[in-house]
């Protein structure tokens, strides 16, 4: 190893190190480059894109009515079996019995947000919500019933 090469190596190495230090030094002094978001503080300003897939929800109107007919397409199409439809028999005004959903059970813990249920729903009864704070202490709390208690099917939805 010649002396020239030895010194050259040492110098080149030191120069490359100084370059890296210049870069970090730049960020140390330029606080405007900081990209951190103060998450729980900025909850109100957070805007999630409208396509964000957070969880499956079933919209209800003001009369506590939903659009689910209980056709079970979502249950069939789900890759993970995270939707279960439980039926009951509604008594219609004319005395006939009509099949309607009792509970639409949704297992958020099994859901992969693939959107297949929403796409395949013939009556647009379910949609994806823009929520993302799903953490709970008990896994059972992730098992959700989508239709509200005593809710009914909307008129005109077949």
């Amino acid at each position: 190893m010649s002396v020239k090469k030895y010194i050259g190596d040492a110098w080149k190495g030191a120069a490359s190190l100084l370059k890296g230090m210049r870069r970090t030094g730049y960020y140390f002094t330029h606080h405007k480059e900081i990209i951190t978001q103060q998450y729980p503080d900025n909850r109100n300003e957070l805007d999630l894109p409208e396509r964000f897939k957070g969880e499956v929800v079933m919209p209800h109107n003001e009369n506590n009515e939903h659009r689910c007919t209980g056709c079970q397409v979502c249950e069939l199409v789900c890759p993970n079996g995270s939707i279960k439809v439980i039926f009951k028999n509604d008594l219609m005004p004319d005395g006939k019995k009509k099949k309607a959903i009792d509970k639409l059970v949704y297992h958020l813990d099994m859901c992969t947000m693939c959107n297949l249920c929403v796409e395949n729903c013939p009556s647009d009864a379910i949609k994806m919500a823009q929520t993302f704070e799903h953490s709970v202490f008990d896994r059972n709390k992730l098992k959700k019933v989508l239709n509200k208690p005593d809710s009914k099917i909307m008129d005109g939805v077949e």
Partner: protein
């Protein structure tokens, strides 16, 4: 999980200074639950034995009971860093049997998303590898750019990591109106920041010394061990599926297959860094030329693949992913096999790590870019 009796029989520490040490499943450098049983002499590695299966979900078995529309979404969880490309392989394989014309717009969208995913994956790899080597700062800098990609993904696909954007025949929904603007912003950001990567790592003398000549993999070994992706290309094996067996519109695009001939960790590192630039090149070509038209082809609601065998290979961020579907003519695959790049790339670890130091192992694992769910499937 481990074979206690066997190992103690084989390598009892009878005064030769050998030490059996477990790296993983809970180790900061394995990035997942990879378990390596390492025989050490001093600091020198004598043997590495991977033990897998900590997160094996048997996706192949799961897919046998899912329809052709459903099984695609399970595969996002294999190599979660290139989830979109996994899905892409699956839909391509299904489309082979469907004989359906994919609209050009859908093809371009898919390729754009593929390349964005590839950049995001390499970005994460870059940061995580630097962190393994002890430099923490690059990790955060890499995440800054990766976050921009994730935001684009979130806006268009509705999710940040496992996008589930592909469906047989095209993509789920059209591009977001903001897409082009956002991607251009990202390109600008990337170009402004990319020289920092060189300053922080690529030119750093410590980094070069850590990587150079470490874990040398010869071209013949790379082929024999079935390596693919940047691992094989670092050894000078031309294996880019996008070039050799082009799918979608890759044959119409101008980009180079990055090849390095040294076969050491530094070569693998350089391949990935240059690959990011190639992906940028592809995105630049496409972003202003997205054709108008449908984003999804009309397909039957219930998909049935004709009886036969279908194999589709794509280039993920880690290498060649193969999807092998055997259909019996029903709505579900009879048997499905995923040839994951990580599995073959992992098998080479023992070969290249022998004789190296334990610190070299970190560099090698970093440049092999192991994603454990991809290996375990």
């Amino acid at each position: 999980m481990y074979r206690e009796t066997e190992i103690i029989k084989d390598f009892s520490t009878d005064g030769n200074g050998d030490m059996i040490i477990n790296v993983g499943p809970q180790h900061p450098a394995t990035h997942g639950v990879l378990h390596l049983v390492i025989t050490l002499n001093g600091e020198t590695i004598k043997k590495i034995e991977p033990h897998l299966g900590y997160i094996h979900r048997s996706i192949e078995k799961m897919c046998e009971s899912l329809t052709f529309r459903q099984f695609i979404y399970v595969t996002s969880r294999m190599d979660y860093l290139s989830a979109h490309i996994n899905n892409h392989a699956c839909v391509l394989c299904v489309e082979q049997g469907m004989e359906v014309e994919i609209p050009p717009r859908a093809q371009v969208i898919r390729v754009l998303m593929d390349e964005l995913t590839r950049i995001a994956s390499h970005e994460l790899w870059w940061g995580a590898m630097a962190m393994d080597l002890g430099a923490f700062t690059p990790f955060f800098h890499a995440f800054r750019e990766r976050e921009a990609i994730n935001d684009i993904m979130e806006e268009t696909c509705g999710a940040r990591l496992t996008m589930n954007y592909n469906v047989p025949g095209g993509v789920v929904n059209d591009l977001h109106p903001n897409f082009q603007k956002r991607v251009k912003e990202f390109l600008e950001l990337y170009k402004r920041k990319v020289h920092e990567y060189d300053e922080l790592l690529t030119e750093n003398v410590i980094f070069i010394n850590r990587m150079k000549g470490v874990g040398v993999l010869s071209a013949a070994d790379a082929i024999s061990y079935g390596c693919s992706g940047p691992v094989a290309r670092g050894s000078g094996v031309s294996c880019d599926v996008r070039k050799i067996y082009p799918y979608e519109i890759y044959d119409q695009l101008a980009f180079d297959e990055v090849l390095e001939t040294d076969g050491d960790s530094l070569a693998r590192y350089k391949v990935r860094v240059k690959e990011m630039n190639q992906s940028i090149k592809i995105i630049e070509q496409l972003i202003d030329n997205i054709p108008e038209g449908d984003f999804v082809a009309k397909t039957k609601n219930v998909l049935k693949l004709p009886k036969g065998e279908y194999y589709q290979r794509v280039e993920t961020a880690r290498g060649e992913l193969g999807v092998y579907i055997i259909s019996e003519g029903s709505t579900m695959p009879y048997r499905i096999k995923f040839r994951s790049p990580g599995f073959s790339n992992l098998s080479v670890l023992d070969k290249i790590a022998r004789g190296g130091k334990i610190a070299d192992l970190i560099a090698m694992m970093g440049t092999l870019d192991l994603v454990i769910p991809d290996i375990d499937r």
